[in-house]
Symmetry: D2
Subunit: 345 residues, 4 copies
């Protein structure tokens, strides 16, 4: 089998490891290159001992800049690196899926939210936002995909159909809860088990970079501008993001109407599960899968709707969604190599 | 030592156990009665093995109805029981601190929020809401105290000073996160470790009974009516409540102004810690203590303020606050037997 | 596709859910019957919401006794039930894999260790112990397989090659550590998150029924009788068993010799990973996979060897090993539908 | 109040923080000096935010070498530092309690187990092993106390009375399980929450330095030499050590005899709780307290006894035991400032 020659740049992090794990189960993908910085020179199994039993175990991580002869590259690098690396790859006809934030926002937003001037605005304008359930057609032919952030994914999927149908009206308050794996592999003492167990704590309010991403992606998806307030919180978990969006329900909007709108919007979608009325989303249930669970209901007293989404931040919130995008870009079945059942409990 | 003769009715639950633990460290309190239902006949150490080393270890739990010769009774019983038991105690001159919801709301709210007609509305009208930092003077002479819920405590403490000073304006969205101990000792399979680890999930939106309590208590505390939307969430922790309140910042309100208002309001309070600018509340830090941590800041783009509070739901959110109320009612130093330093890490 | 018609009796427990999840990914298996007791009448997705997205979601659980027209039945029932149900299935030419303890011990051991007289000793004598790495040939033609317990699996795999080669000599002390999922889905208050977080505790010493299973299986596997002392412990995890076996190293036995023996014994085995010298086993690494990690080393001062194994008790310790046995019994590739890479982190 | 002028050298670690917390609750102790290395110049509340509400919050940490005018110094420094610092303090008549391993072993053992030649063997010979329940008389007049390690404390307390009475006979296998706080505050990626949740793993077998400490302390306590094999394991907890000692029961030794021996040995001891027959030790129950729980039973089939101990490694396993030693050295009531009830759940 020839296969799509794929590289993972930034293979030593959690997202990198998950990309490798999923890619290894993909019948059309050939894992042709692993790139890293500090990890260059080590083998995959040294960096990710849980991959010791895989066929790629002894593959050696190479300097990021040595990537060549690839059909597609996943960039799982720190924010700010992808945008310097992607152009050369793209010009060499390597398709790129960026898992950092480098191609998610308008150019003007980068200084404020990411602290750098965007170095490749021409490519930025061509990037497609990699949320398949909303941008599937554009993704099929895409050369550069901006894989969405873990928080924006459930927020955009949950709100877009409701905004479009006029069932809810901005502004929106998004309260995010996440496990620690989103903080990355070398997150320091604050990410230790000792500091995390029994700790519930907010962080980076009001300046988390997923806020402008939510606003931008919702505008792209619906044509509607909504103002977002976003506060993320860390809770003692490893995988899992749950977002609770609070938004004004339009006059007459009922819980049933919200549920029907979501069900209609995502009918037939393999990775979106709209919960039946009364059911509650649970990050544990989607652990290890590419599924996002959605629920919505109205508090009739206050007229506020709560639109809630749950996913595994390393799968549907990162590596799994990236594989889904690869499948679209390369014309494979969209669900290839992507579990739709979580490893529960 | 004469001592205040105190009874704990509902001694076998987590709150009951914490009341006993704290009462045992109180030099002016004599633990004169332990009452239970299913646990009647068993000793304290059988029901709470961690109390095996205490002087009360072999005290036998008696039927709740056998309480007598007490100066004060803590009622840590299921909602709906306190209101049938309290009147007889009060008429026998036993002061009562109710840790259930039976004396927290106006009579008219009980059918909707608690599912019963209130059986003792005359006493209900005399009940004082047991939030010392806001109702200290009334508590000093009180005979019947409604100990606040775990979620309303940080919400009311955080919002009241800001509403009073006109720095924020309702309505308010309250996003609550809690560990599992608040669900009680026999909470079933959904509270198992297997179902809880890695699980982030909402529950009981929009009908949690702490919502009307927040509205009622804020009105009592400030004279201002605010409409609350409240969504609680379970996260994989044992102790700990963190509440994130989203509310419109008034024109010109800054993060500094919010911080100053809180600092001023709680200057000298032994159990309220207003965090310095930039610091983030953390439930782990107050674990085992009677302290509530508060922080507030404004998102200048959206004009929304986030007012955040963290406490240990079994201490400041239940048993500790009840002891604080006892201290006030009995004229003891308000901090007696109450830790102001958490057991960290 | 015709497919092997498979039933899961006891589908509502954790092991049952895991059997269904793995069977759904098996191209040669048709999930033809789900049986339960209290859960009969409910659909699979009601009982296991994480399976809501699967093709079997709306399959209804039927009374256990209604199983018919099956090629193979997994019995994931409480101890003592399988032995009453299996004979009728076997006589109707349904092959049986029992995940309880009903066919693991000699008949004489049942009264003492399981509290019942074995009702079908003729079948018991025909049962094959389902540890593929040691009894592969017998399993190929087996009609009745006793799937091993979660603790015995790593103990037997770790010790057998070392005993056979005379590198170690009994008796053996086995210290087991396990997460809570092994205790089952309705394990009561002691299995609550509140009672489990921060709790490290022994249980059921010295009377755990996996002790005689270890002795019996080691004798079957090696022909050598060793006396075992076994103390299991609960630690705050969901999945995961780690067994530490302490045994006298024979004169001259080195850590290198132990490692070589294990490596030689399991060369080419897809689900046994012998760790390189100095590496430490980790249950987290094999989570969700059918892999067992083994390590062995000698304390030269005391002459005691520590032989350590780690696995996921629901996969290699239960449902995964059962699928591995099905693959052998039915002549499929032994690794079909079984992950050899854990979902890490 | 005059008070005992006490310093904590190494105040920024977990043990340092716990020493400060307990010392702040001690009516006879004046916290006169906080010393650190990297943390020097910062205030206590910056280093330990949970101590922000304490009277010492704004105390500044000073270079370790600046300690002066103290009556007693706790050394909570990395192994190898105490032995270079202690002599000058002792010569200046400052009593010393060392919480590192620098004064726990014979001089000859240091190169092998700690990697350094002991620099002050004269003082080492005068050090008293700080296990109050066994060396109380020597501790009363001691100037230099070697505070025991977290694993040796329950092992020595559990085994010593049984060895002395001839109820058990060495050698002993000790299987240790511990939470992560024992690894210290800057333990790196392996101590992250992401790497710890769901991870059960051995470490540092057979070379953990608590092994020779157990052997040495048992010999000191009983005059009997026993050979120990020791394998420690990390489990997903913060506080808590549980040790399971496997040892040959002497001919005729029963579970009852073991229980009676322990009960007799520790009658009246405020911090040792011998569990009733059938009860199981639990680290969660002693969390935050200075209590060690002990149990012992015999497996009549194998003739092996399991002697099990549970404690909070930061309290009875470190800071609490150190305060207990201070109380003895200074002639205070031995239980002052030490909780005998855990913060449960």
């Amino acid at each position: 089998m020839a296969g799509l020659r794929v590289g993972v740049l930034g293979a030593s992090g959690y997202t990198g490891g998950e990309l490798v794990r999923l890619a290894l189960g993909h019948p059309e993908v050939e894992l042709a290159f692993l790139g890293g910085r500090d990890s260059a020179g080590r083998t995959l199994e040294e960096v990710h001992p849980h991959l010791a039993g895989s066929p790629a175990a002894s593959l050696r991580i190479q300097p990021v800049g040595d990537a060549k002869d690839l059909d597609l590259a996943f960039l799982a690098l720190p924010h700010g690196e992808s945008s310097t690396i992607a152009p050369a790859l793209l010009e060499a006809s390597v398709r790129v899926i960026d898992l950092a934030g480098d191609f998610r926002l308008p150019a003007t937003a980068y200084p404020e939210w990411y602290g750098f001037e965007h170095p490749s605005t021409a490519w930025l304008e061509k990037a497609v936002y990699g949320l398949p359930e909303r941008f599937r057609d554009q993704l099929r032919g895409a050369h550069l995909v901006a894989n969405p952030g873990c928080f924006p994914t459930p927020v955009v999927l949950g709100l877009a159909p409701l905004l479009e149908r006029g069932l809810v009206e901005g502004p929106v308050v998004v309260d995010g809860k996440t496990g620690l794996s989103g903080a990355g592999r070398t997150a320091g003492d604050a990410a230790s088990h000792v500091a995390t167990e029994e700790s519930i704590r907010p962080y980076r309010f009001p300046s988390h970079q997923h806020k402008p991403e939510m606003e931008h992606a919702l505008a792209l998806a619906t044509g509607i501008d909504v103002r977002i307030t976003f506060a993320p919180h860390l809770v003692p978990a490893v995988r899992g993001v749950l977002t609770t969006c609070y938004v004004k329900a339009s006059e007459g909007t009922t819980t049933e109407a919200l549920g029907s709108a979501l069900a209609e919007a995502y009918e037939g979608e393999p990775f979106v599960r709209v919960l039946p009325p009364g059911a509650m989303a649970d990050t544990k249930r989607v652990r290890g899968s590419n599924v996002v669970e959605l629920q919505a209901s109205v508090d009739p007293r206050s007229g506020t709707a709560a639109v809630i989404g749950a996913l595994d931040n390393l799968v549907k919130g990162a590596a799994g969604q990236a594989i889904q995008n690869l499948n679209l870009m390369a014309g494979f079945d969209e669900t290839t190599a992507l579990p739709s059942i979580g490893v529960y409990p």
